[in-house]
């Protein structure tokens, strides 16, 4: 079984956010970058599926600058076999990125292509399913549970007020949600082994974008309100404020 995982390098979710001088990008100075947390569920799923099958190959692919090599090595340290870096400054538009990934994936003979359900930086929520459309493959998005049997995938995804069960046959694209598994931490042995695993770099030129960022801004800070009181005695005063002042009841 050949499995590909498409990964994105993102700022750590606890990093302090500063908007850069261009006003259209974040200032990356001093920011720690990590593999997108949702992509870690995809990496873990790929490694575990290969372990269960006892054979196969896992590949991690990203679109980005050379700084992504570190992120790819982190995936190799977890247990992925090989990495591909599609060198590009990237795009705010998900479709050109999806096209570059689809170009790389189409001749790979992959049975399963995994993504995180979204990247926590731009929250675009789209590249995985776009790749599936471009490759005319079935796609299940936001899978929180996945089972494979006889060349078919069944996955559960959380929807408003319930759980939707989706099924398709391989080859397929699945985007992964929290709940799917608990991603392993790289072992020391894994980190050493990762240094010797193949990491191919290929320059790519992304197609023109039809979405562009005009500016970024930090949302207005919420003002601290007031302490209505202490203990259960404060409840009537709170409800009066919610009814008469906030008008939300």
């Amino acid at each position: 079984m050949k499995i590909a995982v498409c990964l994105k390098r993102v700022p750590d979710t606890t990093a302090k956010i500063v908007i850069g001088a261009s006003r259209t990008a974040l200032d990356e100075t001093g920011v720690k970058f990590v593999p997108n947390p949702y992509d870690e569920f995809a990496l873990e799923a790929a490694i575990a599926l290969k372990e269960q099958a006892g054979a196969g190959e896992t590949t991690v692919i990203t679109v980005g600058t050379d700084a992504c090599q570190e992120t790819l090595r982190a995936a190799l340290a977890m247990g992925i076999d090989r990495a591909v870096l599609l060198q590009s400054p990237g795009s705010a538009d998900g479709l050109p990125v999806a096209r570059a990934l689809a170009d790389e994936l189409k001749s790979g003979g992959y049975d399963l292509i995994l993504f995180g359900k979204l990247a926590v930086d731009d929250c675009n929520h789209q590249v995985g399913v776009m790749v599936a459309e471009l490759l005319a493959l079935p796609c299940i998005t936001a899978a929180a549970k996945m089972t494979m049997s006889g060349g078919a995938v069944e996955a559960e995804r959380e929807i408003e007020g319930g759980v939707e069960v989706m099924g398709c046959s391989l080859p397929a694209v699945v985007t992964c949600d929290k709940g799917l598994n608990n991603p392993r931490l790289p072992s020391l042995k894994g980190i050493m082994a990762a240094k010797k695993k193949p990491l191919d770099t290929k320059p790519v030129t992304l197609e023109a974008a039809s979405f562009e960022i005009t500016s970024l801004e930090l949302p207005a800070e919420r003002q601290a309100g007031r302490i209505v009181g202490e203990g259960a005695e404060a409840v009537p005063a709170l409800l009066a404020l919610l009814r008469n002042e906030a008008k939300v009841l």
Binding site: Q126, L137, E158, V165, F211, I227, A232, P236, L242, V248
Partner: protein, 321 residues
């Protein structure tokens, strides 16, 4: 600009978010006097379909197909793509369905997709959007310059409009499509529960609840409100007390209810990111220095095990009066 609003139905009834999608579509169409079509995917008639005119649809396109009782990713994307080029914009809800379907349609039309939009505008034929990114810690302003702008709007941010339009219903021909992926059904919880992203009121609990069984206190409060959903902090979801579907914050959901009540939640930055756009925030916490009080409009410092039962009792009185 002519705009297509993609509605959602479940079990033959339109979902509330459909009216929000129509409101967003009208915001794009009205500046240029354009028309709004609402598309409804279903196996048969859908209750509320003939009233979509009242919410802003000039025309309702009924795409009926045996496969459309449940969400059909391939059928819905093929149908929208077959008519999509007629529209300057296609508006989805940023729901489980809309987040799956919007990018499919965008890929088929070869245009960009802006997801989870909280504000929309039009400049000539260009659609402008505002989207919270980095889990709400940054607002991204952008523009869609393709022939058709595909957007999904975050639930609870566009408010349904009342319009006197007739909204005639017309049958839409569903093109032939290959079924690559299919829904095998929806598993619902024992009792009907509101989703945290769609509820008007969210009552969330954290570590301060001490043990999973104590979430009953929050469920009682939610039931007393009637239109409330129960949410949870990451700490209690990771501890296995609550389902991930209830998690508010980064790696969980971003919510914008009218009222958010945080109970026994200290207010880690990742949690605040997920609820800071609520209209009104109430915090109940023992620790008067908890960061949650820095974003709360109203706070009660105290033992939640005393405050919650009283709050539930008083809310019941209000709701029954």
């Amino acid at each position: 600009m002519k705009v297509l609003a993609v509605t959602e139905q479940r079990d033959g009834a339109l979902r509330k978010v459909s009216h929000e999608v129509l409101a967003a579509a009208r915001a794009l169409a009205d500046p240029s006097g354009g028309a709004v079509d609402a598309i409804v995917f279903a196996a048969g008639p859908v209750s509320g379909m003939d009233q979509l005119g009242g919410f802003g649809a000039d025309r309702v396109l009924h795409a009926a197909h045996a496969d459309f009782a449940l969400y059909s990713p391939d059928g819905a994307s093929a149908t929208i793509a077959s008519i999509g080029a007629e529209y300057g914009a296609i508006v989805f809800a940023a729901t489980a369905m809309g987040r799956d379907l919007g990018p499919r349609v965008a890929a088929r039309l070869g245009v960009a997709c802006a997801t989870d939009v909280t504000a929309l505008g039009v400049e000539g034929s260009v659609v402008t959007v505002t989207r919270p990114i980095c889990a709400g810690r940054v607002l991204q302003h952008g523009k869609l310059t393709g022939k058709t702008a595909v957007v999904s709007v975050r639930p609870n941010t566009f408010h349904p409009v009342a319009s006197g339009k007739a909204g005639s219903v017309a049958a839409l021909t569903v093109p032939a499509f290959a079924v690559r992926v299919a829904s095998k059904g929806i598993r619902k919880p024992d009792a009907a529960v509101l989703d945290v992203t769609e509820a008007s009121i969210v009552v969330s609990g954290g570590r301060g609840l001490r043990e999973p069984a104590n979430f009953k206190l929050l469920e009682d409060l939610a039931a007393a409100f009637g239109n409330a959903a129960v949410g949870a902090s990451r700490a209690v979801v990771d501890a296995g007390w609550r389902d991930h579907g209830e998690q508010v914050g980064q790696t969980g959901k971003t919510v914008s209810p009218q009222l958010y009540i945080a109970v026994g939640i200290s207010g880690a930055i990742q949690h605040l990111a997920g609820m800071r756009t609520a209209r009104t925030i109430v915090a109940i916490n023992r620790d008067k220095d908890a960061p949650i009080f820095k974003v709360a409009d109203y706070g009660i410092v105290g033992d939640l095990f005393e405050v919650l039962p009283r709050l539930t009792e008083e809310v019941r009185k209000i709701r029954s009066s």
